[in-house]
Symmetry: C2
Subunit: 146 residues, 2 copies
C-alpha cells in the first residue's frame, strides 16, 4: 500500500466527508436536545465561552468561537433578547461592550449543557467509553494544532 493509498478511493472514507457528516449528525441531535431551552447549538457555544471568560468583550467572544465580530453582533442580539446575557460599556475602554451572563443565562447554560452532553453520548453510543475519550482527544489535538 503506497503512502498516498491509505484511504482508498471511497468517498465515505475521506476525512472531509467524515468530519462533515459527523458534524451534521451531531447538529441534528444537539438541535433536538436544545429545543426545550429555546437556543441552538451555536448559541450554547456562545454561552459557554462567555461563562468561561467573562467579563469579555464581544470581539474576544467572537475570536474564541472563531467567527467574525460582525457575525457575533446578531448572535448576541438574540441571546440578549432572550434575557440570557447583558451588554454594558467597558468603563476602562468605552469602545468595548462587556458581555456577561444573566442569572437566567447561567441557569439555561447549566441545563442546556447537560442536555447537549447527553446528545453527545448518544452519538458516541457505537463507541466504547475508552474509544469515545480517544476520539475527543485525537480531534482536540488536530484542532489545537490547526
Amino acid at each position: 500500500m503506497s503512502i498516498t493509498d491509505n484511504t482508498g478511493s471511497r468517498a465515505g472514507r475521506r476525512l472531509g466527508y467524515l468530519f462533515k457528516h459527523a458534524g451534521m449528525l451531531m447538529s441534528e441531535r444537539n438541535d433536538a436536545a436544545l429545543v426545550p431551552f429555546g437556543i441552538d447549538p451555536r448559541e450554547l457555544g456562545v454561552l459557554i465561552v462567555i461563562d468561561s471568560y467573562e467579563p469579555a468583550s464581544q470581539q474576544q467572544v467572537a475570536e474564541r468561537i472563531g467567527v467574525d465580530r460582525t457575525t457575533m453582533v446578531a448572535m448576541l442580539d438574540a441571546l440578549q433578547a432572550k434575557g440570557l446575557l447583558s451588554r454594558r460599556p467597558d468603563a476602562e475602554d468605552r469602545r468595548r461592550n462587556v458581555v456577561e451572563l444573566t442569572p437566567a443565562g447561567h441557569d439555561i447554560l447549566g441545563r442546556a449543557t447537560a442536555a447537549s452532553d447527553t446528545a453527545e453520548e448518544e452519538l458516541l453510543a457505537p463507541l466504547s467509553p475508552e474509544e469515545a475519550g480517544q476520539l475527543r482527544e485525537l480531534l482536540g489535538r488536530i484542532v489545537a494544532r490547526g
Copy 2:
C-alpha cells in the same frame, strides 16, 4: 465525574465544535491542494462517487453524497463544463441521465485524490499512523450508524 460531566464546560471540547473546526481545517488544506486541478473538495467527492458506482444516475450520485438532487445539477454542470464527466440519457429509462467520467475526469480524479491524500496526511501530522487509522475508523463507525 458525573455522567454529564465528561466534557467539562469548555467550548473547545464540545464535539460539535471539534467536528466543525476539524472540518474547516481539512477544507482549507483540501482547497489549497486541489487548486492545481481546477476543482474543489466537493467536486472531488462527486468524481470519486461516480468512479465508484458508474454508470449511475444523477439522483444516485446525489444520494451517495448526501445532497438533494436539485443541488447535484449545478455540481454536474460545472464538472461537465470542465470536460470531466459526460451525461447521456439512460437507454432503458429515458428520464434518467447516465453520468460517467471522461478520460480527463479519470486523469484528474487520480491526481487530485493523491493530492488530497497528502492534505489529509498533513492534517493528521500531530497523530501517529496508528492514531490516524483509529480516528478514521471511529469516525466511520459514527457516520455509518447515523
